[in-house]
């Protein structure tokens, strides 16, 4: 019995690990969208983060530089998006799509010399505790620092948006950039900052994939996680806590359906593979169906171009 319980613990630990990139990217994108900017380049920024992190780790042999570098590269890519949409007033949707395509191509080009090189082991914390405590051990311990950060992030984000002045300003800009500007808020600056923050978080999400989750570089290794993160933000109606729930459900069903496939369940594989997407959407729609709350949480100006009168 204790073996079974421990196995479930390990399973839950694995689910948590698989949801980390979603939580990181979605939390970043959530801040960006709350300021009224719709950046569809999440996938592109993630994969650039993944290759930069991996390449820096190989070149510098330093994991700290690799992690910081991945965040910086996500941030730099997002600057392109910022300049285009905020300063040159291009359409958010088209620019974001272009950014994703650009990121995937760019990462493949940088990454062609790194294919097949084995990654380095990323330090995990509290490994003895993980092995000595049944069930709770594998859930709570033996993870990387980035996982702990990722699981704190939604709560920090929630507090930041609801309780701090800067959070209030970000929500105000997302609600009505014109009103905010008339109140003397520098809308462009706020939106740039949110875009850059979102970029950095996507970069970190990518690095988690290439440094920790599957420590190697494979072309296109984000595999659509950026799009899932985007969908999570919308279906979680811009609530950080619901993003966390959604990411865990998605990660959970992904892992479970893999096990079901391995055991040989008599359900078509295609259906099993589609399950995480369907279930995540269903659950998030059900938990966020309060239309009043949706209205209050939705950034009214999402995707609208803002320009300041002269």
């Amino acid at each position: 019995m204790s073996f079974d319980l421990n196995f479930i613990g390990i399973l839950i630990g694995a689910i948590m690990a698989s949801s980390v990139p979603l939580i990181l990217a979605a939390s970043g994108e959530l801040i960006t969208e709350r300021s009224g900017v719709l950046n569809l380049g999440v996938e592109g920024m993630m994969i650039i983060g993944a290759i930069s992190g991996f390449a820096l780790m190989i070149i510098t042999d330093n994991l700290f530089f690799a992690v910081i570098g991945s965040m910086l590269s996500g941030l730099i890519i997002s600057i392109i998006f910022g300049i285009l949409t905020q300063s040159l007033l291009t359409n958010h949707v088209a620019t974001g799509l272009a950014l994703t395509i650009f990121g995937i191509g760019m990462s493949a080009m940088i990454g062609k010399n790194f294919v097949g090189i084995p990654g380095k082991e990323f330090p995990l914390l509290f490994v003895n505790l993980k092995e000595n405590i049944p069930f709770f051990g594998p859930i709570l311990f033996g993870h990387s620092i980035i996982l702990y950060f990722a699981f704190l992030l939604p709560f920090i984000t929630n507090y930041f948006l609801k309780k701090t002045k800067i959070g209030l300003i970000i929500r105000a800009v997302g609600d009505s950039p014109t009103s905010a500007s008339n109140q003397g808020i520098n809308v462009i600056l706020v939106r740039y900052s949110c875009i850059l923050y979102g970029g950095a978080m996507c970069g970190l999400a990518g690095a988690y994939l290439s440094l920790i989750y599957t420590p190697q570089w494979i072309e296109n290794m984000t595999g659509g996680r950026g799009w899932i993160a985007l969908a999570l933000v919308v279906f979680a109606t811009w609530s950080p806590i619901k993003v966390l729930i959604g990411a865990l459900i998605f990660g959970g069903i992904t892992i479970l359906q893999l096990h079901m496939q391995a055991i040989g369940f008599r359900i078509p594989v295609q259906l099993l593979s589609a399950l995480p997407y369907i279930m995540t959407i269903i659950v998030l729609v059900i938990i966020s169906r309060d239309s009043r709350k949706i209205k209050l949480n939705t950034p009214t100006s999402l995707g609208q171009i803002f320009y300041k009168e002269k």
């Binding site: 002045k165 929500r171 008339n182 109140q183 808020i185 209050l296 002269k310």
Partner: protein, 499 residues
């Protein structure tokens, strides 16, 4: 606290239009100043300059003889200039308190104390912790005013504040503004409503085409003199309506019309009965929110009732949708020009095509016949003196008056038998109002009928043949125009009864 605000030689040019042409004005505290002008006269540009939103090309602003720089809204705030915009600058999804705290430096507890003091002092009743989107227009305006008051303003600018208010809310606002003025706040009141200037303000500056054309004390002015200054020509007094007695045929009959809504913000209509003759105008008065918008939607077919309750030219049409009703020669001019009557992002000719799906040859085999629509649109523009002949222009660039002319023109060019209007001159300037009124009188003379749902009593008394009042979803008895007085209307609108 004595405040003196001087505007000196301000000019601002936009591509194709001089918004402010060498404007100089002087204001002193203790008085309420009116800045009067038609839409597009440059009032709004001037106050946007004063609030730091727009930078002037030339000119200076002095506060207590000190030249102040107004490069951003923050500068205006630093100099204690407060501004309440016509289109509210509020964050709808944030709570009232969050809206107030966003640009204040006080701690939350201190701010809450301060705000509560202001609420008490001016007898404002607003829940600070509900989202702004749940407030009425009057309450939203109070939030804007409170936001200014927190900063102890020396100057308070109100940009067309009554355009969204009910009559009661307007009275309350005037009481507050007079209080502020007594406390030494300099008030600049922007409007195009002449009555308000005379009842509220001490001095009036009239602007026309970007220039200040007159500055005077309101004691020396009358409605007519101000109107003439504002429009720049002697306004032809609108001709008096003569009752059309040629016809006796009943065109519309509403019998036992009831409407129950599940939406708590809508008004239920209770047992409405009235009829309308050919060539007649029936006015429906009332304070807004008493069921007017529901009644309009029922007449236009946006809300569908049972077949028998609406009979138009002897056909039962209660279940028909707006397009089908138009085919029976009904026409509609809704209250909200921007979101109900027209699509602002579409070009003029596209908007013209929108309500003429069947009655014309605009569409052939599913394709749009642009040439026909454009010709037709040009005809509307010239017949209804819309101030442009460019049918390719986006409708959002038309002023309110011109957009309303376009809408009325679009409805009337198909020669409908009945036109239903809801507040047709809401927010328009005198010139446009007169034009619309003239048009509505004309159609009655031509034997067409109209229903005028309006919150403007002067308009109703001018245009209607018979009037009734709607109160809490019920209609009063219908009175002939000769027996109606503004006092009677007032009593009925407040829920009282006469005779």
């Amino acid at each position: 606290m004595n405040t003196k605000l001087t505007i000196s030689n301000i000019s601002k040019t936009y591509p194709g239009c001089i918004a402010n042409d060498n404007v100089s004005l002087e204001f002193g505290s203790g008085k309420i100043y009116a800045l009067l002008g038609e839409n597009g006269a440059g009032k709004s540009t001037l106050v946007r300059i004063l609030s730091g939103v727009v930078k002037p090309d030339e000119g200076k602003v002095f506060l207590n003889n000190e030249n102040i720089k107004l490069n951003s809204p923050l500068d205006a705030k630093k100099n204690n200039i407060g501004m309440v915009f016509q289109h509210f600058n509020l964050f709808e999804t944030l709570s009232v308190f969050e809206n107030l705290s966003i640009d204040s430096n006080e701690k939350n507890e201190e701010l809450r104390f301060l705000v509560n003091e202001i609420l008490k002092k001016y007898n404002f009743k607003i829940d600070l912790d509900i989202p702004v989107l749940n407030l009425s227009a009057g309450q939203k305006q109070k939030v804007e005013i409170i936001r200014c008051l927190i900063r102890n303003p020396k100057v308070l600018i109100m940009d067309e504040p009554t355009s969204v208010l009910t009559e009661q809310e307007t009275e309350d606002l005037f009481i507050s503004l007079k209080k502020f003025s007594e406390e030494g706040i300099l008030i600049i009141y922007i409007t195009h409503k002449l009555k308000e200037v005379l009842s509220l303000c001490d001095e009036v500056a009239v602007m026309r085409k970007g220039k200040v054309v007159s500055v005077s004390s309101t004691k020396e002015e009358k409605i007519e003199s101000l109107a003439n200054k504002m429009v720049g020509e002697n306004l032809s007094t609108i001709r008096k309506k003569i009752k059309n007695l040629k016809y006796n045929e009943e065109i519309l009959k509403i019998s036992n019309l009831n409407f129950r809504s599940d939406d708590p913000y809508e008004t239920n209509l209770i047992n409405l009965n009235f009829s309308l003759k050919k060539g007649e105008c029936l006015g429906i008065a009332g304070i807004s929110g008493n069921g007017q918008s529901e009644l309009f939607q029922i007449l236009s077919g946006e809300i569908i009732t049972d077949y028998t309750s609406i009979k138009f030219r002897n056909k039962e049409i209660g279940k028909l949708n707006p397009r089908e009703r138009r085919e029976y020669l009904m026409a509609f001019s809704p209250e909200d020009r921007i979101s109900q009557a027209a699509v602002p992002e579409l070009k003029i000719y596209e908007n013209v095509a929108l309500n003429n799906f069947k009655s014309s040859n605009f569409f052939e085999r599913g394709l749009v016949n642009e040439k026909k629509i454009k010709e037709h649109s040009k005809k509307i523009l010239s017949n209804f003196s819309v101030n442009t002949d460019n049918v390719e222009m986006k409708s959002q660039f038309l002023s309110g008056g011109n957009l309303q002319k376009l809408i009325i023109g679009r409805e009337l060019i198909t020669s409908p038998e009945l036109l239903v209007c809801f507040n047709p001159t809401w927010g328009l300037d005198v010139g446009a109002i007169n034009y619309i009124h003239e048009t509505l009188i004309n159609i009655n003379e031509q034997g067409k009928s109209s229903i005028l749902i309006s919150t403007d009593n002067d308009e109703l008394l001018r245009l209607s043949d018979r009037i009734c009042v709607i109160y809490k979803g019920k209609l009063s008895k219908i009175m002939d125009i000769n027996e109606v007085t503004p006092e009677k209307l007032g009593i009925l609108m407040g829920g009282g009864s006469i005779d």
